[in-house]
Assembly symmetry: C2
Homo-oligomer: 389 residues x 2
Amino acid sequence: MIVRKAEVFREKQGINVLTGHPVHHIDPAGQTVSGTTLAGEPFEASFDKLLIATGAAPLIPDIPGANLPAVMTVKTLEDGRRVKRFINENPVRRVVIIGMGYIAMEMCETLRRLDLAVAMVKPNPQFLPWLEESLAAVVKEHLVSHGVGVYTGHAMQKIEETDGGLKVSGPELGLPGDMVLLAIGITPNSHLAADAGLELGVRKAIAVDRGLRTSCDNIYAAGDCADAYHVVTGEKTWIPLALRANRAGWAVADNVCGKDVRLDGVSGTSVFRVLELEVARTGLNAAEARQSGFDPVGVVISARSRAHAHPGGADIWVSILGDKQSGRLLGVQMIGREGVAHRINGPAVALHGQMTVEQFSQTDLAYAPPFGPTWDPMLVAANQLIKKL
Amino acid sequence: MIVRKAEVFREKQGINVLTGHPVHHIDPAGQTVSGTTLAGEPFEASFDKLLIATGAAPLIPDIPGANLPAVMTVKTLEDGRRVKRFINENPVRRVVIIGMGYIAMEMCETLRRLDLAVAMVKPNPQFLPWLEESLAAVVKEHLVSHGVGVYTGHAMQKIEETDGGLKVSGPELGLPGDMVLLAIGITPNSHLAADAGLELGVRKAIAVDRGLRTSCDNIYAAGDCADAYHVVTGEKTWIPLALRANRAGWAVADNVCGKDVRLDGVSGTSVFRVLELEVARTGLNAAEARQSGFDPVGVVISARSRAHAHPGGADIWVSILGDKQSGRLLGVQMIGREGVAHRINGPAVALHGQMTVEQFSQTDLAYAPPFGPTWDPMLVAANQLIKKL
């Protein structure tokens, strides 16, 4: 997504930005890239160092009707504008979202704020499968109580135009809508890299080392097309989020210019808001922990977002996970109407520091009545988890 | 502050709580405490283990009029009730607060919400001297712009009753008020411990080890009367705040029952809100860092509390400090109208983990447009600081 115009790059930064030049081939040995311009002219450019920043693309469900004009994805800035335009120019009252990931949740929030009816549908019977079960149940109930239709366990088989708009249907369910959003996930744009013989990693993302180098020494990859190390497991992961993408871009710039910047990796921290509910996570969930050879033990607690004596406040649910063997903190998940989004950063830092649950439980977190109880809910959870480790 | 009644302790927990029994003497060798009840009866009790949890007491300025009925401190629950009663039962319109610490700030917030005029005064010409200068200036301006009188550099010499209420006066300033709050600080209640020959530490707090033991093996101290280790300096400090006090109490209970709980110490994390402005800190400021032998280098940045494209949001100022020699993160201070209180916990955890500024700069913090820019303001600050280290 290029928000700045190409001229700005050319004139202010001396970067020869060539838009309309899709690259079709990378030649690592010859150190060239080549393709055909949108105007039909073949082109070739040579490089000393190459950065592949091809991002990711939305997955499109392979069903009839997925290409109808009122069926849209939401990945690029232009996608967002198209959705907005469509809502403004058509009598849209009901939206069906296929998928229930971050993008689906954020679109749900936005659409409900516009007072549109929203139904979400996906094949997996588990709602937010990466979220601890009891927390996921709270989020689901929250959505349903705010009038969102949540249909898990339904594989949709076609989208049809009807008299009144669109209809999304599966074997046991038909959902009418005026617009359909496809948000079933994204996949790294790594074909070009793969064709050039570069090594791919997790989920077919381009494999890079801590210095963002691909398997070819003078070729780097950064952004949603590349993988990363996970600071908890030490293994490769693909968690395409904005901060890592941006950070990796800067690191490549530094490295190309002769510095030796190495990125520790990601702890898998993320947050979204859906209908005033904040949902955040950092680190591993139980399934991921087991898969990486840990022996995870967890507790779930609920507490209040402010001190008992302070007016207002809301419930906060905390799920915390530690490793029975080493005592290490493995992950924290949290939901609540306030105070969740930034709270998750404490345990995120603890994961970077490879702290044990015990060490995290001893941290000196800020306390004042408007912002939390004396014992922050995360510390309450950590204290309970210690007893089980 | 005992919020529960003594009977609850006696009947539900089997703890023989003796109120009205002020202890006047501790005999460590004889393992007894003794005193005279409020009813005038002498008493003595023997112990195997003793916990001193005498807390701290507000400092009272030694000036005429400090004991007038409309002049009050705010330390105990009863203090708070007295202030509330006085406001309800008297035509209070103007309050003078002597002192400008946390309690003064929190009272200022509360009183302004009740629409009372507030003037704050203290001898030190520096407003919030522990806060980085440019941040302190923002807080001061915020208070002044909200109609609070802020008079630094004025030592008040007397409080007098006048026809219209009270007058607090110094050589160059006279402040009229209907009520005066004394909030110049607190001091540990350690006389009893000192008289018993127990070692005192920083600011005359009772010196305790990581297991909360005093210099006498079977005597513990916890709460605002006791000192603590600072996780950044490794030295003793006295930062009387609720979480540490509470945590120390639990640790003593565990240790008396035969466990061996040791507390790492405090990072000096705190937050308060004054007139919708959140002010938070963790770790050392430049003066404290120099005093502990570090070579502090700092930067101050301002950023927005939400993503650029997201409506709303507010300015956030971040001051970050690192050690030129070791690269270690030494402290972070932050102010802003939203998103400050919980943000400070990230660097607080980093201080417990003895992280460098570089390591902190690489942490994977949560990002979503309603909650911050892609690069959290703290990471922006850390990135800038790295260039100076």
